[in-house]
């Protein structure tokens, strides 16, 4: 049973289009009251379909959706206490900013005085008071998006749905809007559900993230857990970058498993990794690029170390991405540019030692 902390309950929801396409495949999850929730996945993974089912534009083929304890089966979009910010913003082109924001209140028959007051508050919330009389074609993309936000928030929905809200903005503005959306969400206290294909967006804004692929939710976790402890190869690879190797479990003893990585075993031997569950057979072994350390001399006190050749160095300003090879094994290491000339010795063709802490290694069983 959903407790009072749950605002949206999605239970065994399946959505099929026609007879061959299953967009959402048996998804169950709870969204908590007041949280910033992200649905993250590549295009075509079913995240937008799921969001549209919450808004009422699609109805589930199977399963049920409860919003604040109320079954949404057969409830029209205009009768749901959720509002949506569309990817195209869908700001009404023939109405002024004020009329756009007032629209939802007007069709609900709200008295005129109250409309004006609430529209004023909503515009102040998104810092658009001075634009109230403009038409949408006199606004920038970022301003149009604020109109879309104000228009949805003025209805005081229980949940605000955002469909790829930042994808049309340029990089600088996107970062600024990420911060602003988080600030907005904390100040209004409304549950936000955002759909995005951008992992940075999800990681930086959301309290919890559901990673989807092929209509399934693969992992649901807070950002840090998702990044540090992905539960499968897809999540590990989709969130951030990953050095991923195939290996076999060759033994286990007291909470640790011994894994032989084919491409590394002749150099570093078997790895002993902490792992709670049961693991056998083929597994994935993964290490984040920023957790690798480079040194010119052999780091003798590091248990996992090997000598590699630098194949390529890509300069990004804040980071250097170093591509390394040791026999068949390929690594990427991300080095923070902590001071000028910090990586002067890191040049193509040189040999360096890389090492990492055993505890930072990930074991992926699926």
């Amino acid at each position: 049973m959903p407790d009072s902390n749950t605002i949206i309950t999605i239970r065994n929801v399946v959505k099929r289009f026609g007879s061959s396409v299953t967009a959402v495949n048996d998804v169950s999850l709870d969204i908590r009251r007041g949280e910033f929730f992200a649905l993250l996945g590549p295009s075509g993974c079913g995240k937008t379909t799921l969001l549209r089912m919450l808004a009422g534009f699609e109805s589930p083929s199977e399963g049920e959706i409860l919003i604040d304890g109320e079954d949404m089966d057969g409830v029209e979009p205009n009768k749901r206490s959720v509002n949506m910010v569309f990817q195209s913003y869908a700001v009404f082109p023939h109405m002024t900013v004020h009329q756009n924001v007032a629209y939802g209140l007007k069709v609900a028959g709200t008295p005129k005085g109250e409309i004006n007051q609430r529209v004023g508050e909503a515009l102040a919330l998104v810092q658009l008071e001075s634009m109230a009389d403009r038409k949408p074609d006199q606004l920038s993309g970022g301003q149009r998006q604020r109109v879309a936000l104000a228009r949805a928030l003025v209805k005081k929905p229980k949940v605000l749905l955002l469909d790829e809200p930042l994808s049309a903005l340029d990089a600088k503005l996107r970062e600024q809007m990420q911060l602003e959306l988080v600030r907005l969400q904390k100040s209004v206290g409304i549950t936000f559900v955002i759909v995005t294909h951008d992992q940075n967006e999800a990681l930086s804004m959301a309290d919890r993230i559901a990673v989807m692929e092929h209509g399934n939710v693969l992992q649901l976790a807070p950002p840090a857990e998702l990044y540090e402890y992905p539960n499968c190869r897809f999540v590990a690879d989709f969130i951030g970058k990953m050095n991923l190797f195939d290996g076999q479990v060759v033994g286990a003893r007291d909470g640790r498993v011994v894994v032989r990585v084919n491409a590394l075993s002749d150099r570093v031997g078997d790895l002993e990794l902490p792992y709670d569950g049961e693991a056998r057979g083929g597994v994935g072994v993964a290490i984040r690029p920023e957790k690798l350390r480079l040194s010119s001399s052999e780091p003798v006190d590091e248990p996992v170390r090997l000598r590699t050749r630098i194949m390529e160095v890509v300069y990004y300003g804040d980071e250097n991405h170093v591509f390394l090879e040791a026999g068949e094994a390929k690594f990427t290491a991300n080095l923070q540019n902590v001071s000028r000339g910090a990586h002067a010795g890191v040049v193509r063709g040189e040999d360096v030692w890389i090492s990492w802490r055993q505890e930072d290694t990930l074991l992926l069983t699926s």
């Binding site: 509002n83 082109p93 023939h94 074609d137």
Partner: protein
Amino acid sequence: MAKDRANPLDYSRKTWMRLCMGFTFVFLYFPIVSLIAFSFNDSKRNITWQGFTLRYYEQAFNNSQLHEAFLNSLIIAGISTTVSTILGAMLGLALYRFRFPAQGPYEGLVHLPIVIPEICMAVAMVAFFATVNMPLGLTTITVSHIAFSIPFVAVVIRARMAGFDRSLEEASRDLGASQWQTFWNVTYPYMKPGLVAGALLAFTLSLDDFVITFFTSGPGSTTFPIKIYSMVRFSVTPEVNAASTVLIVITLALTVAALIIQSRSQGPTHA
């Protein structure tokens, strides 16, 4: 780079191109210009220029039969425009919005009245009215005009709706509006330029239609073009020229209005 390839604008500087353009203009517009000019000619015949007069306009305005015919045309055009705009808009919207089996063939059939020769439409109409025992008169003319105007309106509306962002309708529903409110608050304002253009098109089509009107008219239901035709059979007097000029001016004004409205709506339509 190809140096000898002419810039598109260079063609207008070539003599043969200019001659071609000149001939086209003469062939297209000389008859019309001479028609208008001789409507001001102070002579009973359209052969030599005798001097300027507005006498024949006066005569045309005082011709009660011409009056009646013009009134008939206005009534027919008014009713047929109203009905065909509503039906055509519904048709255009349905074609834009819904996917249904055999949609391709259906769209083709809808456009058929635009393509098939008018004389065939006319004969078909007469045959139809005979089968249903409808006496020929203003009603049958109006019904025929509605029938051939609908596809034109539908095509204009369909083209207009092609640029419509459907998430606007979803946004309206999401904000609490019913389907009906959404149509009137969001869809209709977007359609409006198309509706005006379609209506003006239907109006001019009805006002100057001859073939179908001629076949479906009965005693006492003479329209303006038909009245002019019967006057010409008598003799081409400047009075006919004057009446025709009035019709030209009206259709021209409406067509220009339709074009302006359409081009305005093709500007920044939605953000």
